[in-house]
Symmetry: C2
Subunit: 382 residues, 2 copies
Amino acid sequence: MIYLDHNATTPVDPRVREEMLPYLVEIFGNPSSLHSFGRKAKEAIEEARIRVAHLISANPKEIFFTSGGTEADNLAIRGIASYHKDRGKHIITTAIEHHAVLLCTDALEKEGFKITYIMPKKDGIVSAEDVLKAISKETILITIMTANNETGAFQPIKEIGRRLAEHNKKRTAKDRVYFHTDAVQAVGKTPFDVDKLQVDMVSLSGHKIYGPKGVGAIYIRQGSRISPITYGGQHENGMRPGTENVPGIVGFGRAAEIANSEFYKMKEVKRLRDLLERGILERIPDVQINGSQDMRLPTTTSISFSGVFSESLLAVLDQKGIAVSSGSACNSSSPSSHVLKSMELSKETMLSTLRFSLGTGNTEEEIRFVISATAEAVDKLR
Amino acid sequence: MIYLDHNATTPVDPRVREEMLPYLVEIFGNPSSLHSFGRKAKEAIEEARIRVAHLISANPKEIFFTSGGTEADNLAIRGIASYHKDRGKHIITTAIEHHAVLLCTDALEKEGFKITYIMPKKDGIVSAEDVLKAISKETILITIMTANNETGAFQPIKEIGRRLAEHNKKRTAKDRVYFHTDAVQAVGKTPFDVDKLQVDMVSLSGHKIYGPKGVGAIYIRQGSRISPITYGGQHENGMRPGTENVPGIVGFGRAAEIANSEFYKMKEVKRLRDLLERGILERIPDVQINGSQDMRLPTTTSISFSGVFSESLLAVLDQKGIAVSSGSACNSSSPSSHVLKSMELSKETMLSTLRFSLGTGNTEEEIRFVISATAEAVDKLR
């Protein structure tokens, strides 16, 4: 079995599992409890908070654990919308965001917000200039992903952050334009520093970086004004109620630490991704790589195989034990991709596209097998 | 170490952990993925859905996994409020709900909803009559917990369900009064059948029944009209977006199955709880049990030790290796309990109250030790 769908989810690193195990049966206390069982659980989540903060060069006080990236996106967008709606109801985003962002903005649109969707260029990257030009007096939030889940294309977060900081210079927490980025796909694969990027909020997910599913986090810059979106106990400093997922948080912390210390592994992943692309381009005619080939994640490639339905190709590869995807897993029921569409790909090209997303466990032998298997499959299907 | 704080959280049953483990490293696929890794994960969550449904005699299609009980409460209350707000803005609840309910209704009150808080009698139980009488033309939802987390007192869910069904007889999904119950503390400890109780929505939690933290579920009766409260992928049939917490859900499923098949163990838990109460009443003067002693969970007792600060007693017991609580863990930062206050306990009595909540792992030897240790501690503190 060869797994090339790491953008959908990653296996839990065995070292992460080891660290989680004691927090199921033995150290099982509720972190809010005042006795020793509770204190040990509390210590564990505070240690994990430090580790996650470290991965993005944040202060641990600025990290709030959630149930995953989707909840983090919802909290950022609806939390800012809810707090600041009286001073403005305009939000800027892009046409290539994950559905966790786009369906939030859809819902807000129905509640009377105005949303500007910036279109990417053909390389799958939006222009910072377009984003900045869209700001009006009503704008309260810009939310743009760090790297796209389908093409891997990096968005110009640093440039937007720098120019937005300029725009916000004389503004306070009450009247600034907040900047959120969904970095679920980017963190752990590319350097990420909240101060260098000048972002106010960042969505993170455990299961995209060899941590467990069911846990994520949101970074919220100190001093930001934002409302919680769910109500209950005073967990996570009042930002996110509900008994903390202690083993999940501990696992996420360990995964963040490993991602941080083994960042060098991304070089090998990139080498294998490039090998895969070259192999496919050499062996299979009428093939194209979608989106920027320079400005993108080291893990990801989006390839269109002219005249082949991606769903058929996916199924044939699945039978050969190779897991790839035809787009975002979260949108697998929909046959076409809003990301590729916004890049002006023809419908035919869209429907013949596969995403290969590599991980630290893949080997050169696997990649060589995938190249052959894909060439055979395309040949047969054509 | 003796753990008597099972209402705050329970250890994961080793059999639950066993079942979860393969879903971390080996069977790690994203249930939305179309390849074999994804299908295996999907099968696992559907199996868990059947098990959880079985515990409350529901149809698996009516079970939607969440990150926990708090999210389930938020989804029930805000989901109904959001869908039905145009026909009515009145919600009936009680003064003794968990904060996950009370802070939701607080937030809705600020948004223009009218909330009726039914007070309990001195035994900690609300009257079904009071609840039914509060219904007006504007009422869209009744939300009342099945058993209270502090006293264990059962609320008259069955009677309310029966009388509400009468009230709703000629109404449709569009104009009925919906009935939600937070059964986080009750399920697994007392028989629970959604049809016999005639409830429309039920909140459930994994970590209260020897399952993992970070996972829960909401039962929603088929045909109900309710909006999701977060936005993203089409997971959980569109009710709850975000990549599913597969190992957590699998663990919750196994815990539900065990709770269902080992329900008989509650008899022994009740025997030990009664032994604990008798021992304390016999050995320690000026002690009172709070709330109904008949209509309550087999696991729970709330005891006031006149003239002793519960926080001091909790700390002394903690030093002796005994974990108890002074109230709800989710509200441990607040010195007094809204539940006991609504039962008209004096402030002094409230502040001298401990909650002992037993579990299936406790032994008679432990209970005898706890009785002696508590008697000694109270003696010293007085």
